[in-house]
């Protein structure tokens, strides 16, 4: 009687040798695409729409007003530099005041780029003021 050779059964296995390589590739991808830098800036809640118009109507002579006209900076109708504006705003001690007393009107006319606008808004915010934008033509 001839001997029948037994068939060697191969064990079925999922090849897992390269799993760690794939995982590490994914890690490298996420490390490279993750944003580590923190944003810097300031926060401002602007009185908007009808509220802004009411605010503008309520404005009396005492409300501080910053004007930006064709790159020139005016504080209560006097031309000032950015550093002087920051000092003048700090002198007002807006942070210690409440509600409407903290409002600073920001008026612009002519060509105004975002750089000077941003610096002005940042100065008002840093001094504890609330910016109220007066749109042209109001």
């Amino acid at each position: 009687m001839p001997f029948v050779r037994r068939k060697e059964k191969r064990e079925l296995e999922i090849p897992t040798d390269s799993v760690s390589d794939i995982a590490f590739l994914l890690i490298i991808f996420f490390i490279l695409t993750t944003t580590m830098s923190k944003l810097t800036g300031f926060t401002a809640e602007l009185p908007s729409g009808a509220a802004a118009q009411q605010q503008a109507a309520k404005t009396d002579a005492k409300t501080p007003t910053v004007q930006i006209t064709n790159g020139k900076l005016l504080f209560n109708e006097q031309e000032v530099s950015m550093a002087a504006l920051q000092e003048r705003l700090l002198d007002l001690q807006l942070a210690k005041k409440q509600g409407e007393e903290r409002v600073v009107m920001l008026e612009t006319a002519g060509k105004v780029d975002y750089q000077i606008y941003y610096e002005t808004m940042a100065a008002i915010s840093a001094a504890g003021g609330i910016v109220a934008i007066v749109e042209e033509g109001e």
Binding site: T35, K38, L39, F42, P47, Q115, Y117, Y118, M121, I133
Partner: protein, 139 residues
């Protein structure tokens, strides 16, 4: 003389759990990653003194150097769209921290472009978190 055979086990680093560790790290990075929603390559941020750190938010509005306006990375045609979008995203949110809208704008953009956008964010109920670069004080 009898020579003893030394039974030294070949030193091997256990690599079996390496894949598990790697996948745990992957999951960690997936959960903590913050994918950029905006294309900010064409935005040169303005500079100012005394800027604070801002937390990244889910809602963002950007204006690039060409005056293109983007809401959460998608171009929009008018400020009215931004107002509606901001109002939709912030519906039911009362806390000031939850109503933050990250605002990025190129420093050379004219007010005719950015002022209506700022007003739209405000009308939509957003608190503006204006992004800029901190500059050193001039001596």
């Amino acid at each position: 003389m009898k020579l003893r055979k030394s039974r030294r086990v070949a030193p091997a680093v256990p690599l079996a759990s390496m894949g598990d560790i790697a996948f745990l790290l992957t999951i960690f990075f997936i959960l903590t990653s913050n994918f950029a929603k905006d294309d900010t390559r064409n935005i040169k941020p303005p500079n100012a003194r005394e800027l604070a750190q801002l937390e990244n938010q889910n809602v963002s509005v950007s204006i690039d150097a060409d005056g293109g306006v983007f809401f959460n990375g998608r171009p929009v045609a008018s400020p009215a769209t931004i107002e509606a979008g901001v109002a939709g995203f912030l519906a039911g949110k009362k806390d000031m921290k939850d109503r933050m809208v990250v605002f990025r704008c190129d420093q050379g953009v004219d007010k005719k472009v950015f002022e209506p956008v700022l007003a739209a964010i405000s009308k939509g109920g957003g608190v503006i978190a204006a992004v800029g670069q901190a500059s050193q004080a001039k001596p």
